[in-house]
């Protein structure tokens, strides 16, 4: 399958975690005997990533997202199963493989804080053995795209978080990677900078053909960027597919906002639940598993005098949180 840039097969990863008590006696006891439990961060995970897509990798804290990203980057080795990325096995052919990937980890900085970002870029040029010509061209392009001409010349410690993030992006894209891993790239960034970063990710995906794999807690990132999402909970994939598909499969209700011609009370319709009711306005939740929205509107029109109406879908955020919750039960 030449399309697949990354193939993950039956990957499991677990960590040892020592249990430890609070009391003084426990502290003493732990010197001689300690109990541990195995935390299964990932259990038999399978998936593929296609060339040129933007994949959103979502899940609650501690679901194993970061572990998966680290496995795909070659930082960690899986306990069992195989990972193939760009025809390499990341943990085995690490040196050759990482030449082709870039990574931005929101928490960890690649940049030297006391120096201007440009110095880090020059260092990366040496690390990735980029030729002078390619380096200049690439840097100019990226600086242009992110509009950071002045910023890269002042010490990183004086930059705002959003500016710093932009520099991180440049540092991880200089060597023209085929895959870009982003671990919470917009965390702690203000709305305007967030929008800039999103546009930038879209652009590098479209123009440079970089495959992007992204973990985030920001649902806005997902909606505006991702072609496909994978939802992970407790080391198991609970959903895999596109956002429209997610809506189709998991959407259980739609909301109807109805404006009446005259004062209307005690609305009653089959398969509809009244959430809010005002004299001239009401919000109804239509259970679309048992009825269609058109049927509900028809029923409504027959019974009441309606002036105007709005249809609202459930937000992705609430769908995802519902999926998390249902898994936990």
């Amino acid at each position: 399958m030449p399309d697949n840039i990354i193939e993950v097969k039956n990957v499991s990863k677990s960590f040892k975690k020592y249990k430890r008590g609070d009391s003084f006696f426990d502290a003493f006891k732990s010197l001689f005997h300690r109990e541990f439990e195995r935390i299964h961060a990932l259990k038999n995970v399978n998936f593929e990533i296609k060339k040129g897509e933007i994949l959103g990798y979502l899940g609650p804290n501690g679901a194993g997202k970061s572990t998966m990203i680290k496995l795909m980057c070659g930082i960690l080795e899986p306990d069992s199963g195989t990972i193939k990325a760009l025809n390499y096995t990341p943990s085995k052919d690490r040196e050759k493989y990482v030449k082709n990937i870039g990574a931005v980890f929101g928490q960890k900085s690649n940049l030297w804080t006391d120096l201007p970002a440009i110095d880090t870029f020059r260092l990366n040029k040496e690390i990735y053995k980029i030729s002078e010509h390619d380096y200049k061209k690439r840097l100019d392009e990226l600086v242009e795209l992110l509009d950071v001409k002045e910023i890269i010349k002042s010490p990183v410690r004086n930059l705002s978080f959003g500016e710093r993030m932009k520099c991180e992006f440049i540092a991880s894209l200089l060597h023209n990677p085929k895959i870009l891993f982003l671990d919470e790239p917009t965390v702690g960034v203000d709305v305007v900078a967030k929008q800039n970063i999103r546009n930038f990710i879209k652009k590098i995906n479209k123009e440079f053909g970089v495959t992007v794999i992204l973990t985030t807690h920001d649902i806005g990132d997902v909606e505006s960027l991702c072609d496909r999402i994978i939802i992970l909970d407790k080391g198991v994939h609970v959903y895999e597919g596109s956002i429209p598909l997610l809506k189709k499969n998991y959407l259980s209700y739609k909301e109807l906002i109805v404006y009446f011609e005259k004062e209307t009370k005690n609305i009653e319709l089959p398969n509809c639940e009244v959430i809010e009711s005002e004299p001239f306005k009401a919000t109804l939740r239509v259970d679309i598993l048992n009825t269609s929205i058109s049927q509900a509107i028809q029923n409504l029109m027959e019974k009441y005098k309606v002036e105007d109406l709005d249809i609202k879908e459930e937000s992705i955020e609430s769908i995802i949180s519902r999926i998390y919750k249902s898994e936990k039960k």
């Binding site: 430890r20 609070d22 003084f24 426990d26 502290a27 732990s30 010197l31 001689f32 410690r157």
Partner: protein, 265 residues
């Protein structure tokens, strides 16, 4: 005050270290015992006199063994904590705590010390007694010396804290100042060489230096070299110095927080 004890407890829990570190610490203590034991034996044997400046060989060796045992309690890493707080901007969070910045860190240090007392000091004390003839000159003196050490820990903490505050103004000069302080402290507290070996004139000055009360006086109490009145006087001196350094800290702290603008947010 409740917060204070909560902090102590929290820090005690946190300092539960792994057993590798525990055994390495014990190993380190044993090496220091051996080194001090043979070093001072060699010096006394070569010198030929039985008593040098009022200390016999046995007393000097026990002095140095006691320094090795207690060493961990009288070293803080407050300067590193303050530097991290300032550089990373954690200070803003810590300022929101209901407990004074310095007292909060004192509580943390004490919590760690309680941990090391049981898991470093007592095991190494037992080893010293059984394998290095560490002698207890009188259980009463021995207990009094621990009270003195307890005060010394607090005094030491406030000295270090004051020097750490330099970080706020001069992030770049901190290392030199801190290094100078630690050298001065280790020389004039009797940590490397008992203060008895210093020239007579300096010994008079030492009485009025706070560093003397870190290692030298507690150990002199343990050796039974101080009279009852001297012991009480030394406690009073320790308390005065603690109050003095605490007051300085309070003064600096007020000045600093007024002029402080968050760094690195």
């Amino acid at each position: 005050m409740n917060y204070f004890f909560a902090f102590i407890k929290q820090s005690f829990k946190e300092s539960t270290k792994s057993r590798v570190v525990f055994f390495i610490n014990i190993f380190g203590k044993i090496i220091f015992f051996i080194i001090n034991f043979y070093l001072w034996q060699a010096i006394f044997n070569y010198d030929g006199r039985g008593v040098i400046n009022g200390l016999t060989m046995e007393e000097t060796i026990n002095y140095m063994l006691f320094v090795s045992i207690m060493y961990g309690l009288l070293s803080t890493n407050i300067h590193r904590i303050v530097m991290k707080d300032v550089k990373n901007g954690y200070i803003n969070i810590k300022l929101l705590r209901p407990l004074d910045y310095g007292l909060g860190h004192l509580a943390m240090a004490l919590g760690q010390n309680i941990y090391s007392f049981f898991l470093e000091i007592i095991p190494s004390l037992i080893i010293a007694i059984f394998f290095f003839n560490f002698k207890i000159y009188g259980i009463f003196y021995f207990l009094l010396s621990f009270i003195s050490f307890f005060l010394a820990i607090i005094l030491n903490f406030f000295i270090d804290l004051n020097f750490s505050l330099i970080n706020f103004k001069f992030i770049d000069t901190y290392s030199a100042v801190n290094f100078a302080k630690s050298v001065f402290k280790s020389l004039f507290s009797g940590e490397i060489v008992p203060l008895n070996f210093f020239p007579q004139i300096m010994q008079q000055i030492f009485k009025f230096l706070p560093t003397t009360y870190l290692f030298y006086t507690p150990i002199m109490i343990y050796l039974g070299k101080l009279s009852g009145a001297d012991i009480i006087l030394s406690f009073i001196f320790q308390l005065i110095f603690i109050i003095f350094f605490y007051a300085i800290y309070k003064f600096f702290w007020k000045m600093l927080t007024k002029s402080f603008e968050g760094v690195g947010v």
